[in-house]
Homo-oligomer: 365 residues x 2
């Protein structure tokens, strides 16, 4: 099968597939945005036309995630990687400690950046033999009631594991990097003090970072921080302190509209379960021809990681997959293997086609 | 004149007008980028297709600005506002001082952020009676040969002033915020240790920050800085340490291609002079009906600021301009008045139409 002008089967880990209806709308209005004679990219971020786009995106996210009034939605830049520093810079107070739950490479990076700012500790780690294959039990997390915060990574893009249940941390602010599974299912925002996510998986194009922050946390933040790195700067200015990434926010708003139109997070979660089941079933019924990287009870519905029996077989599997038009199936360069990223905008049909390809490849080998 | 489906006369101060040919190309390939079956926004930043886009943008900028080999071109996020902090964080060493030339609000913000990190001083200031109207003489700058660096703002968007001649600072690294006039004319990059610019004026959409940095400066930088805020992190990783704003970089690359196609910076500078002359002539031949904010020898070719004889007249001028389809003519909310931003992508015809509107308005009033 040749993929040329038709849509690719896009399993990229991020940036990743966007809904075709969103792309078509963006294309149609790219040059003349709603009769302004300008592209949305050419609008002033201080214009009422742009502010409507901006505020609609914020409101759509609030509706989709049922975000309570005591939270602010911010649009920042720099991705999760900059959040790794902004969080301890703002919230790791002198004399306090911050706990990090280690479930993969991104947790490691988050912990490593926090060390620059104060005392940190591992609240749990599932690292075994150099790899991560599971999510710790909620009851196994070790932290103290006076900690500055507890940090976790809700979905591990590289290892293909995902939290299904989040801890009740009482007065300890719970902070989650949800870059790779935000909007994939309903969550109880009330459990979290701060949620952050790079947009380039379920939310839109790269270049926008979404932060959902409980207002009381803003008041407790350290002072003497660069203006741009204070959450309060952006909260006070409705994320318009300086020029925001306007086109990215516009796209994000359109992706959120699409998510609402197709039934919101309950409908999306069902689709994601269906999609993941197609691939995991192909693994589980393969008699060991394919074997999943993650423990079954920690499996991610977003990033489905697996290996083949031998390196040679894996190589020819990946090559053939590419030839057949399946994009982004190679595992992360740090661990190899195979990975299917089945974010919200990946259609069920794409997962079905890949699942059939897996079965077919097994038959022939 | 009604502006509906035709192009607006877009004089926004940023985000601002983009070349129509670039928008048309982006529109044509928005859904299927070069036969991949994916939007450029859906490509992995680790794919060869995206890396070609990324590297072409870097190379085009090197060609256009004749950037010597001892410089790196970086694509960052956070705008000039984040650079205000990154610069002192990286380069304001203990025991040294950094000089700031004060020519407007952005210089003030840059200075204010630097104070968090060490000793700073004003190398010059043209602030008089609460406003800035000129650029200091190069010979009047006060700085010391062992300063950490000297910082200036090459064009002042709000006040409408622009440097035409840059100081030779010897061993003191010269750092320039060129957000609002980069690419508007040829410059001698060799004079600078670091040039930075938010993309949303002459370079592309908002959400990308361009940094041109001399390699030896990277080696002198402070350590113990968050990974994302070290210039060296991005230099070592060809600005692919984490997910870059891929669509913004793609657009930037296309704007650079356009700039090369229309003849490069010499041709662009000529156009900008023609455009600015149309407006400044309308001011200078108005017998005081219009009066420019900037001293004539400090006038900006990018942001042309002026007032009318009375507040009432100014108000009706701005209202009529808006009705006639001229977008973005209001001065910055901090100082009021009128401002025509005539960045590279603003066509000569737009300036001609506005200049005629000015003459016509004067006749009637």
């Amino acid at each position: 099968m040749k993929v040329q002008t038709q849509r690719a089967f896009n399993f990229n880990a991020g940036p990743s597939a966007l809904p075709i209806s969103v792309l078509e709308k963006a294309q149609a209005e790219l040059i003349d945005f709603r009769g302004t004679g300008m592209s949305v990219m050419e609008l002033s971020h201080r214009s009422s036309t742009y502010e409507e786009v901006h505020n609609q995106a914020i409101n759509s996210l609030k509706l989709l995630l049922s975000i309570p009034d005591q939270y602010e939605v911010l649009f920042l830049q720099g991705g999760a990687s900059l959040q790794f520093s902004m969080i301890p810079m703002n919230f790791l107070q002198q004399g306090k400690k911050a706990g990090y739950v280690m479930t993969g490479s991104w947790s490691e990076k988050a912990l490593s950046e926090a060390k620059l700012f104060g005392d940190v500790f591992q609240a749990a780690s599932t690292k075994e033999e150099g790899s991560y294959r599971s999510i710790p039990k909620v009851g196994d997390l070790k932290f103290n009631s006076d900690d500055a915060y507890l940090h976790l990574t809700s979905n591990n893009t590289i290892y293909g594991t995902q939290w299904t249940d989040f801890p009740d941390t009482g007065d300890v602010p719970l902070i989650a990097d949800m870059s790779s599974d935000i909007l994939s299912k309903p969550i109880d925002v009330n459990k979290f003090a701060l949620i952050y996510a790079g947009a380039q998986k379920n939310l839109g194009p790269s270049g926008v970072t979404v932060v959902i922050i409980r207002k009381d946390l803003l008041e407790q933040a350290n002072t003497n921080i660069p203006t741009m790195l204070k959450y309060s700067t952006h909260a006070k200015n409705n994320s318009l302190y300086n020029t925001p990434p306007t086109f990215g926010i516009y796209m994000l708003g359109e992706v959120l509209n699409w998510a609402r139109e197709i039934g919101g997070l309950t409908a999306i979660a069902e689709q994601n379960e269906t999609k993941a089941k197609l691939i995991y079933d192909a693994i589980d019924t393969s008699n060991g021809f394919y074997h999943g990287h993650a423990e079954p009870d920690s499996r991610s519905l977003m990033n489905l990681t697996f290996n083949l029996k031998s390196k040679e077989l894996e190589k020819s599997f990946l090559e053939l997959a590419k030839q057949e038009g399946f994009v982004g199936i190679n595992g992360h360069r740090s661990i190899g293997g195979c990975r299917v990223s089945a974010y919200n905008a990946v259609p069920i049909d794409a997962c079905k086609a890949f699942s059939e390809f897996m079965v077919e490849f097994q038959k022939k080998n």
